[in-house]
Symmetry: C3
Subunit: 207 residues, 3 copies
Amino acid sequence: MLMNDVITVVDLVATAVFAISGALAAAQGRHDILGFILFGTITGIGGGTLRDLLLGTDAVFWFTRTEYLWICVAASVATWFMAPLFDSISRVLLWADAVGLALFSVLGAVKALQFDAPPIVAVGMGVMTATFGSMIRDTLLNKEPVLLGPEIYVSAALLGAASYTALHPFTEWALPISIALAFGLRACAILFDLRLPKYGPAENDQS
Amino acid sequence: MLMNDVITVVDLVATAVFAISGALAAAQGRHDILGFILFGTITGIGGGTLRDLLLGTDAVFWFTRTEYLWICVAASVATWFMAPLFDSISRVLLWADAVGLALFSVLGAVKALQFDAPPIVAVGMGVMTATFGSMIRDTLLNKEPVLLGPEIYVSAALLGAASYTALHPFTEWALPISIALAFGLRACAILFDLRLPKYGPAENDQS
Amino acid sequence: MLMNDVITVVDLVATAVFAISGALAAAQGRHDILGFILFGTITGIGGGTLRDLLLGTDAVFWFTRTEYLWICVAASVATWFMAPLFDSISRVLLWADAVGLALFSVLGAVKALQFDAPPIVAVGMGVMTATFGSMIRDTLLNKEPVLLGPEIYVSAALLGAASYTALHPFTEWALPISIALAFGLRACAILFDLRLPKYGPAENDQS
């Protein structure tokens, strides 16, 4: 069916984009090419794998659909050769991560709704699919997780997943609209340094 | 059935208490309100989610019983407004964590035994359910995991899970007794700084 | 059947060896005996547990086969008493980890192939089974993950899993040959400080 084809293509693109972000993080840590492939693959399929485990699917999606693995390997290897061409790896990583975030937050909700998930579960799955891969990537590489950074990040994933969950019964354009909303919010957050108010009161005790 | 109702209530209380501890940890890291909700939810349902994955249940418990998610969100938001009222967040966090530890160590064993788990598996599931949520919370927030702290922590979870596993065939009071034992041991550990002997010999090499 | 008996024995040995490496890591962190058991068990069964979750087996292997848990407990307790006898804990840990790596990389592929996994999935499962336990161990103990160390590590797991996947239709000796290849490569890497070329270009931006 046409809609499912669109979703599959978007899913593969999101996987490749996140794999590139994982490989770029490996570049920052100056790892070897297998490190690129390892972090590219973990970041690319990590979120969707957790989603499948929580939904209780039989086996994870990449068990039968190995093209997801190949695309992670290919994107990671390509990054190894392309990364030197970029002036600022951290800037490219930031934007690759933003694109992946927007795509996966909506796709996570799509997949959960296909399993008849209640709305709050669909939204939660969207946020989780979008953030889990980068969370492992950053934890393993001992970087400050990007989702704990000061700018709006989780909010963008939340907006993407929630708007798709709210809109999909009403319009066929729910997919592109919610992706655009999530990406737009994250892009604004990066460009204009948008942030939610932090927890404020003076904190006197350590740990 | 009455017993199951009691278990459900205790389970919801434990989830709320752990969610509060997660939100308090987010307060220490000065995150925004979505950070509170994220860490509250991860800490509140993390242990039970891992338990369900390992037991091979069809889908995780909060897929159909969304009240667990709502209670995490509500507890996290409440913590955002209440936290400034406390003198010492780290002290409240310590005790909330102790209550959650006692409740979840026993509930993890209860659920595993409902799946006919052998005793060692039931005990292990109890320890895991009680410690996994706080383990992720502390790892993601880059804090020293509380379960690696010097005072007795894993021992208290072990006592709760093991005493329930041992007592439940013999008495209907197994649930409150084991919760009291686990909480009592952890409370004594906090108050009197109880600890097991550390590994002692001089260690000359680094890592 | 004979072959399955051999695999079971090798699997138990690998579990014990990885449990010892987990307990030794706890010794370096000067934890108490429950910390030894906790990290020994996580490291011993962590990789195989993730593999089972991803393969979508009903319950994890140690739910019914509790001997895997007992062997982790026994190996951890034994390490508590034996560790002081070693001159250099980090050296023993390095070699125990190398043996576990070689055994589990091949066994992960064996189990995946029993589930009719495609070759790339079998190789990926082998690498994951071999590296996941030590990855959690090091992350929780806040050590630099050994798989991010400079010498060849992931490559050895890859060699073990790939050579078994390639050889097993052709020879009954696929199991010992691939284990020897993986261990040989890792041993050479430790002894002769073999490493793959790191990502090279000057990197001007921080994170």
